[in-house]
């Protein structure tokens, strides 16, 4: 695993607390990464258009479009982005939707453990 | 002086309830005779083994999740018989047929925190096949309230069938708890004349409006109004004094009067009114409190309608 290139991560969650938690956990492991925030699916799509990130962590339930729908749109155009769906919706249907998109599903709460799972997905080759 | 462990163990084995205690690693620590009776697996065979591996059949995910939650978070969990008929492979071996019958169960899991060894869980199992008894039906009779089968389709309030059931329960409750009971019989004055003049459709609308007006005067969960038949309604109001019940009757009478539904075919008033017969008091088994309310209603009609007449449960001279 190389950390020599500073990667860019986009965190999409309508909860500020949740975004802060994810950011804190990531910074603890990868202080050199550039981290961007979006608080809705729509905002995340717009941000990706300005400059696609390497990785994305996406919540599902947000005002506006569902995170999974936003993820689908983003991955259609930028299939190389590594996507993690991080949600409190832990029912089977959401997990399989995430997997069908080529994203990994990780259950909330945000913790060292759940973020480690997300980082694993980022670093395994496609 | 603390009770010796042997006595405690005897107690656990004597009670008519299944008891299983598991430690934080899901190992069985204790298993009472009731569980043996319904599994034919001895405690010594189960002790020290993971609960999931003790039975010859796998345990359902719901049970295992509940156990995990109780051990992990220390929150008590119930698994109702309503939603899971038979989570554990427990059987009634005493049944006459050769086939062993799986028993219906209700399960409660509670955390135990012994001095050492992490959190434990005590699993209590009751046989629901036998526990569903009349007492339970009585307890939950208030839930009958929602059912279509007990609703009068025209007025939306309870029907006669519900009333008959509820009356029995309320009557016996009042006797047992030594509380007053009030029965109010309500009749729309000159309703036949109304139907003749305005037609049955208007008659139905008026029945609905009167039912709603009466119902809107009741605020306690324990108060019940039902359609008794035709243009007659009946109310049961527990635990009110005679004075309070008369006040309610007055409010009911006014609520219908204030609807100001025109009734040109009424010999007395130009609008729809009601008469009310009230019987109130501390009931005894032999009292015919419905009959008294009916008698009171008759008096109210006789005395000019649009009024309430109250009668005690017994005449003075009969006491």
């Amino acid at each position: 695993m190389t950390n020599d290139i500073a990667k860019k991560l986009l965190i999409v969650d309508d909860s500020k607390v949740s975004r802060m938690l994810v950011r804190a956990q990531i910074v603890a492991v990868h202080p050199e990464w550039t981290i961007l925030d979006a608080c809705s699916g729509e905002e995340s799509i717009a941000l990706v258009e300005k400059g696609p990130p390497d990785y994305c962590i996406m919540d599902i339930n947000m005002p506006g479009i569902l995170g999974t729908d936003a993820a689908e749109k983003i991955l259609e155009k930028y299939p190389s982005i590594r996507m993690v769906i991080l949600s409190a919706n832990i029912q089977e249907t959401y997990q399989s939707r995430a997997n069908a998109l080529g994203a990994a599903f990780v259950a909330k709460p945000v913790s060292e453990k759940s973020i480690a799972l997300a980082l694993n997905h980022f670093q395994c080759p496609k | 002086m603390p009770m010796p462990d042997t006595i405690l163990e005897d107690v656990f084995n004597a009670i008519n309830l299944g008891l299983i205690i598991v430690d934080a690693q899901y190992n069985v620590l204790f298993w009472n005779d009731w569980i043996f009776k319904h599994t034919h697996i001895k405690q010594v065979e189960a002790k020290g083994h993971k609960l999931g591996g003790v039975f010859s059949e796998p345990l359902p995910p719901t049970f295992l999740n509940a156990l995990k939650n109780t051990l992990e978070y220390g929150l008590p969990t119930i698994i109702s018989n309503a939603l899971h008929r038979s989570p554990l492979p427990l059987y009634d071996f005493s049944s006459q047929t050769n086939e062993k019958v799986r028993i219906n169960q209700s399960i409660t899991m509670s955390p135990l925190l012994p001095q050492r060894g992490g959190r434990h869980c005590i699993i209590q199992v009751t046989d629901s096949t036998t526990s569903i008894k009349r007492e339970k039906m009585l307890l939950s009779h208030s839930e009958i309230l929602r059912r279509d089968a007990v609703t009068d389709s025209l007025t939306g309030i309870f029907n006669r069938r519900f009333f008959d059931e509820h009356y029995k329960i309320a009557f016996h409750n009042a006797i047992r708890q030594r509380q007053c009971l009030s029965i109010l019989m309500v009749d729309i004055d000159y309703f036949k004349n109304y139907n003749d003049y305005y037609g049955h459709l208007s008659g139905d609308n008026t029945l609905r409006a009167v039912a709603q007006a009466l119902k809107s005067q009741l605020f306690r969960a324990s108060d019940v109004i039902a359609r008794y038949g035709g243009e007659e309604f009946v109310l049961i109001l527990p635990d009110l004094s005679a004075g309070q019940a008369e006040k309610v009757a007055e409010k009911l009478k006014n609520s219908v009067f204030n609807l100001a539904i025109p009734h040109k075919n009424s010999p007395l008033f130009n609008q729809v009114t009601i008469s009310i017969g009230l019987s109130v008091g501390m009931p005894k088994v032999e009292y015919d409190i419905l009959g008294r309310a009916d008698a009171a209603l008759y008096l109210a009609k006789q005395q000019g309608r649009n009024r309430c007449v109250a009668l005690p449960l017994l005449d003075e001279e009969q006491k």
Partner: protein, 203 residues
């Protein structure tokens, strides 16, 4: 009057969203169908301010499940179902093959379990996120009228504040939607808020 800061409310929303997600998973396993639980609003109210209009269920009667819990703070968690919704949910959960008689027998138990699932899921999420441990009594199911309920809430003078959560319950296949209210009343709500601040400070 609002007693929570935006961040505190956000943190609580996250706690209860995770709780709702866990409860939805358990319930979906029972009904064999997807269900959604969402928490659209969270408010802290003084218990004396709780009135009919606070409870956004326009029902005369409620089914309630409550559990008392102790730990870093003591509280009563009470889940309110509107009456018809309660029955609908139970019918859903038990399958429609139930006879009337059976429904009467089982409803109380089923509601108790449903309440237990939702309350435990919320409490476990709170335990995980805030790093606390709570003890709880077993759930208890009662039917109460709105007036009786308000009386219970406002008469317990030792419980000054009430946390009011709206929970929307949606059964995806049946397209039915129900609303539940979670009331968390506690004299020591300040202790809960302290734990939230502690958690926020640790980020």
């Amino acid at each position: 009057m609002n007693l929570l800061s935006e961040m505190q409310r956000d943190a609580l929303a996250e706690v209860f969203n995770i709780g709702a997600g866990r409860a939805a998973l358990s319930i979906s396993e029972i009904v064999g169908d997807e269900v959604k639980l969402s928490v659209p609003s969270i408010e802290v109210k003084k218990s004396v301010e709780i009135g009919v209009e606070t409870l956004p269920l326009n029902n005369e009667r409620f089914g309630t499940v409550h559990q008392n819990f102790t730990g870093p703070f003591e509280a009563t968690a009470m889940l309110l179902f509107s009456e018809e919704k309660a029955l609908e949910i139970v019918r859903d959960m038990m399958g429609s093959q139930m006879s009337l008689e059976e429904l009467v027998e089982f409803e109380q138990e089923a509601m108790c379990e449903l309440g237990n699932i939702i309350l435990n899921a919320c409490l476990s999420a709170m335990a995980d996120i805030l790093g606390i441990s709570l003890n709880s009594t077993l759930p208890c199911y009662t039917i109460a009228s709105c007036t009786e309920l308000l009386h219970t809430i406002t008469s317990s003078m030792d419980q000054d504040y009430v946390l009011v959560l709206n929970i929307v319950f949606t059964s995806v296949k049946r397209e039915s939607e129900g609303q539940l209210i979670l009331l968390l009343s506690s004299a020591s709500l300040t202790n809960l808020i302290r734990h939230i601040d502690h958690f926020l400070g640790g980020i």
